[in-house]
Symmetry: C2
Subunit: 223 residues, 2 copies
């Protein structure tokens, strides 16, 4: 079997939100991974990496997995009618509608989270309620055909879970082994509940401007 995956690839995407699931999906033999954007001109991710879209939104085939990564660029897209319409249209055809990190806010702005359980980056989790979603502080949340992942690196765990759904557990485990995904973080600071308080304060401050910008945009939306 082959699988078709489409990852939205936009200016100021958080590149690891995109590249980690990309590597998981692309490691499945026969998989076709599309980097989807309005046109094929390169876009620059939030940390500077340049990404080259492969498939224009207008040329997007029916997907097994539609995946929206997050990043500061999500803010501009929450009011981008063309992107929101694209997401609604593809969501009606795809087998799984998914997001990583703050990509969930874009699914929310497209009206795709109403009444659904969902997750996102911990700094944005409470914002999901504005879209009618039921926020859950978990690494990966599945609600029927909707699968959402937590912040950035949750995209690895998410990708493997989706491959297991699509291709079976053996295939997901083969990808996990090929990518030697037996994580061993040197510190336990991956969540606000386990990180030292002074570290949480630093990150809240570092991500604060983006959070406040999101609050303002969401207040103007009618979802």
């Amino acid at each position: 079997m082959t699988i078709a995956v489409g990852l939205l690839t936009f200016p100021n995407v958080q590149q690891l939100d995109l590249t980690a699931p990309y590597e998981v999906f692309a490691s499945v033999p026969g998989a076709r991974v599309h980097l989807l954007w309005k046109d094929l001109a390169p876009v620059t991710a939030s940390t500077g990496l340049v990404l080259s879209p492969t498939t224009a939104l207008a040329d997007c085939p029916v997907l097994d997995v539609l995946c929206v990564p997050g990043g500061s660029g999500v803010n501009a897209l929450m009011t981008d009618v063309a992107v929101l319409e694209f997401l609604r249209f593809q969501a009606g055809r795809a087998r799984f509608v998914t997001s990583v990190c703050t990509g969930a806010l874009l699914l929310g702005a497209a009206g795709l989270l109403k009444g659904r359980r969902a997750t996102t980056h911990w700094m944005a989790l409470d914002l999901l309620a504005a879209f009618g979603a039921v926020p859950e502080a978990r690494r990966v949340v599945r609600d029927g055909a909707l699968i959402t992942a937590g912040g950035v690196t949750a995209g690895m765990d998410f990708g493997l879970a989706v491959v297991a759904e699509l291709c079976g557990r053996d295939q997901a485990e083969a990808v996990q082994l090929a990518l030697e995904y037996a994580p061993a973080p040197p510190f336990a600071a991956g969540t606000p509940g386990t990180a030292p308080p002074q570290v949480v304060a630093v990150v809240r401050d570092r991500l604060g401007a983006s959070r406040r910008a999101r609050e303002k945009i969401i207040a103007t939306l009618r979802v």
Copy 2:
């Protein structure tokens, strides 16, 4: 303080070997991350992602961290005199000389692993001995200024460990929290010792051709 990191970016690199540490390093305020290659023409990674080098090898500044990711493209570079000379020259100036996954084979081909403890992807670990290295089956191995990581996703744990060395533990923990790196793999198949035997057999077969090609190349080298 600012840090300068250089990641070798070559045709058929395993993109996640590169993009995971990239995101870790680039998340440190003030960091400058260079994607280094012979010229600035885009290169295609082994799973199809197109990457754009930012800095030609001839223009590489003195680095805090020189990092060589792995991938099938390593095979061609093990006999590429210009690349090997670049690595030896920069290794003599950089604060840390590092690799992720099979990037260690390239450090070995450059003569930089003689008598040193090092690691790489589990499918290539025993090959390090041919370069005079002492292979260790660990996620991240530090031997003085040489830091090597295991397969692909070990680049996350590696990146955080290096940031802690360069900028202190608080900074590394802040990056970990911002990237929500509290991994929760859905399966325990990340190492050959924990994956089901039939999964190990599938992956050994899938990666077998690349392994055999490497054995042949290494047999011709005089390191």
